[in-house]
Amino acid sequence: MYENNDPRTLAYVGKSVLRKDTSEKLTGTATYVSDMVLPGMLYAQVKKSPHARARIVKVDISKAKALAGVRAVLTGDDLDYRIGLYIVDKNILAKGEVRHYGEAVAAVAATSLEIARKAVDLIDVEYEVMQPVLNHMDALKTDAVLVHPDLGSYEFIEAAFTPVPKTNIANWTKLRKGDVEAGFAEAAYVVEREYDNPSVQHVPMETHVAIVRWGARDKVTIWSSAQSPFTVRNLFCHTFALPLGNVRVIVPAVGGGFGGKAGIHLEPLVACLSKKAGGLPVKLQASREEEFSLLPCRSALTYRIKTGVAEDGRIIAQKMEMFWDAGAYADYAVNVTRASGYSASGPYEIPNAWVDAYTVYTNKPYGTAYRGFGHVEFHWGVERHMELVARTIGMDPLEFRRRNALHPGSITLTGEKITSHTGDVVACMEAVARSIGYGKLTAAEKNRELATGRKIGKGIALLQKAPAMPSNTATAAVIKMNGDGSVTVNIGLTEIGQGSTTALAQIVAERLGFDIGKVHVMVDKDTESDPYDWQTVASKGLIMSGNACILACEDLLRRGYAVASHVLKACVEDLAHDGENVYVRHDTENCIPWRSIAIGYAYPDGKGIGGPLIGVGSYIAQGLSNLDKETGQGKPALDWTFGAHGIICEVDPVTGEYAVRKVASAFDVGKVVNPALLRGQIVGGMIQGLGTATCEGYIYDDAGHLLNPSFTDNKIPTARDLPMEIETIVVENSQIDGPYGARGVAEHPMISVAPALGNAIQSAVDADLAHMPIRFEDVWRAMHDKHPIDNWITKTPAGSCRSDPAARIHTPDAAISP
């Protein structure tokens, strides 16, 4: 798709065109599913488990059913449907057993939210509490409690995943390249360490919400705050054995997704309630507390890396073991494991590589897709490890990275060759290093250290990601010309705030040569009228939907030219056009306005030709292949986006308190489509990355209760948490098959912020951190060689976050309600 465009000839691509969807959002008139009310609509509420693992002995719904205004009550035993994106391991409501704190056990639909809540309070559940397995490393022991004893009988996608029955391993992804043992034998140094991340929440500002109407003859309409309307439809129909044509999924404005809304979540339960209530529409909106435990989170990770390096600092061999704590259900986690497995080394060339990546079940809220799809989590390990290796062998960390980074000619873990148009990670690294003055302190910085007593540190981290998606992922665009010569574009890609609506309008306006004011890209999605798009995830929207739009533009122009050539009595080859007319190149006054042929042309005598002009473009990922299940070799990557962050931090050497003074972020984006939109993505992602680095993380007690299910103790960055200075840098090595040379960068700004910070803090005060988040206390402990604290499961009082029983009594009900 890439055309060698001189930037001066581009009208819209490369310009900070204003967003097309702000009028409604600025005035409070954008409709989100949260705002929707339908005639006769019922309100749903969910009864949730206060236990991490328990047998459901009895569920008494009699009092709930008897409450006036209650129209449906469901328990797990009422429903015989199972769900799962990749492994079908979940019931719509817990059946027989609850597997995590906050799991839905029963649900109610009533004429008002108040009645629904009251009804839920009237449901009595008798549990037999059982010992949960909470730590994923414990879950791997041979005598561990099994979260899914029947794992062997579950349906799953065999081409991609390998569950191990009779264990807690939902998936085992393997990659074998070369001979690691020989590599280690040859190495001058072998460095091995383990790195940890806790679970975190996406925290979209709009919590999950769905309205479903199960109409007559099984015609179902779903309104959902979702990222992937076609996936909702597909999975829904698979679960309920319905033809695709029976189910319509509508997605209006979405208040943020970040991967948490990528799959199917509340829709099946709400649908069952609607069906039970005689087909009335039912709405369920998660409370913020439910968002933290009923809805899924991001898996935790323990990542063990062993690297063998030659005397000159080249990596010869690397063994990588990932232990993903996926919680109670596999959901997306098995694919996160797979996608991380094939990218596990980060942007470095590893001649001999061995990866074992495990998705491990535990009795905790489960992991789903999250921005970065595993890459935020494992890059913490990779980039802290590269730092460790460099220091161990006495080499400057920047030089070590330079020596091992992927460059044209390198072979990736899966056997793919990097070319001159894949992207340039070293250019990103050099740019951020320059920006922060890496490796030295300026005179001003030294003076500041003396004046404040705080130490200034600088750190760098690199990143890479390719879209994690099926090798035959596809999308389409339909461009319809309106009677006034403007165009309306339908695409299945969802606007979740990332600005796809605007960027694609720019691409269409550019390719058509039309004024952007005449290009309307639909914001609302409807599976009934929009063309298929796989999912709005994976940073593939711009590249794939952009290409589909270009193909649709070309189709539209061809059809227009065909009609125009008749009318103008000229060869198609002699035609050209601008935003107003189609004309004959060598006789420009012989022209016809677009609006005259937009919906059919009438000759002066009345005869009609042509018809409505509609352009269609379909685009499928090309040349990708499945990964061999034993060796992990194949070509999974549509495109690679590389990047780097450089961080300057300032640390109090006594207390461990620190502040981030500057973040410089650089990405090889191929071609900037909209600078302001891109900056918004970079800064937004980087701040989300800082959140995950500094303060986010689930904390459980040793019975598996989530101790921080709200904003009180699950903090996210506010406006005051910005670094003092932010620099956003782009490299543009064209993606030849990308629209105008662009490649995706939606997830990447979040990746590697944490290790850049960890590296900076280490450079400041020699605190060597191997776990996230990096709280002040963690820095203090690392500086003073104190035992690190458990960040996410409190096991023992010694050096842990465990509640002092005398001062804090945990009451399960208080934590879960409302």
């Binding site: 500094t694 303060c695 506010t718 709280r775 001062a807 409302p818």
Partner: protein
């Protein structure tokens, strides 16, 4: 809100006190609501009656007097404190602590009296009030009493208030006028957060006071300390007052260390 309750908004203090006498334990007073409404929402408190105390004009009064000191009415908000020029010039520590309390929107509603009646160990206003030797004016329909703020808190979220009593004012004595102090609150982020620990150090007249929040079941404070007290004596005095716990925010070791370190640093700042 799940829980249903009746609501009333008296316009005279005498009516309010009489109401308390009759409704008593089933009633909760609503000032800013930033604690009460959260607690009702979370099912921790289930009052029969919510009594809005904001419709009585004298509730909002801040009075600064050259003989009597400062008096803060029971519905004075945190932002009211921050906007008051008398407090800025003469009782600055109140503003220093107020500034760190929650977010702007919360400060428009949260009240000083509400903050101490809620009696969280993490109270941001208590350190200032303790350093400034504040007194709490308590009234019922039958009686009126004054309790020094250092005797007001009896445990985690517990005070000396009886069910038919309410706080109608906080007074700061004229001796504390002109006191200068500093407050440092340790948070997990730069943005609004509960205190992990909070230390206030103030010079009041010719003595020092040190108060600490989030390190004991209640906010705690030393008595008047001599200006020339050594650092180690001051730290020992503070250390003896605190009994930090480990919870999801912090371990007790770090709390104890940071109380000590903040005290040391604030002493240096206040003394210089």
């Amino acid at each position: 809100m799940r829980h249903q309750f009746s609501y009333t908004a008296p316009t005279e203090l005498t009516d309010l006190l009489t109401l308390l006498e009759t409704v008593g334990p089933g009633a909760r007073l609503l000032a800013g609501g930033t604690d009460l409404l959260v607690n009702i929402r979370n099912g921790l408190v289930k009052p029969n009656t919510v009594v809005d105390v904001k419709r009585i004009p004298e509730a909002h009064a801040i009075m600064s007097d050259n003989t009597k000191g400062l008096r803060i009415g029971w519905a004075v908000t945190i932002n009211d404190i921050l906007r008051n020029s008398d407090i800025a010039s003469s009782y600055q520590l109140l503003q220093t602590c107020a500034h760190d309390l929650a977010s702007y929107q919360v400060r428009n509603r949260a009240t000083v009296v509400g903050n101490i009646v809620n009696a969280s160990p993490c109270s941001d206003m208590a350190p200032a009030l303790l350093c400034l030797d504040a007194s709490v004016e308590i009234a019922s329909s039958k009686a009126y009493r004054t309790v020094p703020v250092r005797q007001f808190f009896t445990g985690v979220k517990r005070t000396v208030l009886k069910p038919d009593e309410m706080v109608i004012g906080i007074t700061i004595p004229i001796q504390s006028k002109g006191a200068k102090g500093k407050y440092r609150k340790l948070k997990r982020i730069q943005g609004h957060d509960l205190g992990i620990i909070g230390v206030a150090v103030a010079r009041v007249g010719d003595s020092l006071r040190i108060a600490v929040s989030s390190a004991a079941p209640t906010p705690v404070a030393t008595g008047a300390l001599p200006l020339d007290i050594t650092d180690s004596e001051a730290l020992a005095a503070v250390d003896a007052l605190i009994s930090p716990i480990s919870d999801v925010r912090c371990t007790k070791e770090y709390r104890r260390f940071m109380v000590s370190e903040f005290t040391r640093r604030l002493l240096a700042e206040v003394r210089s």
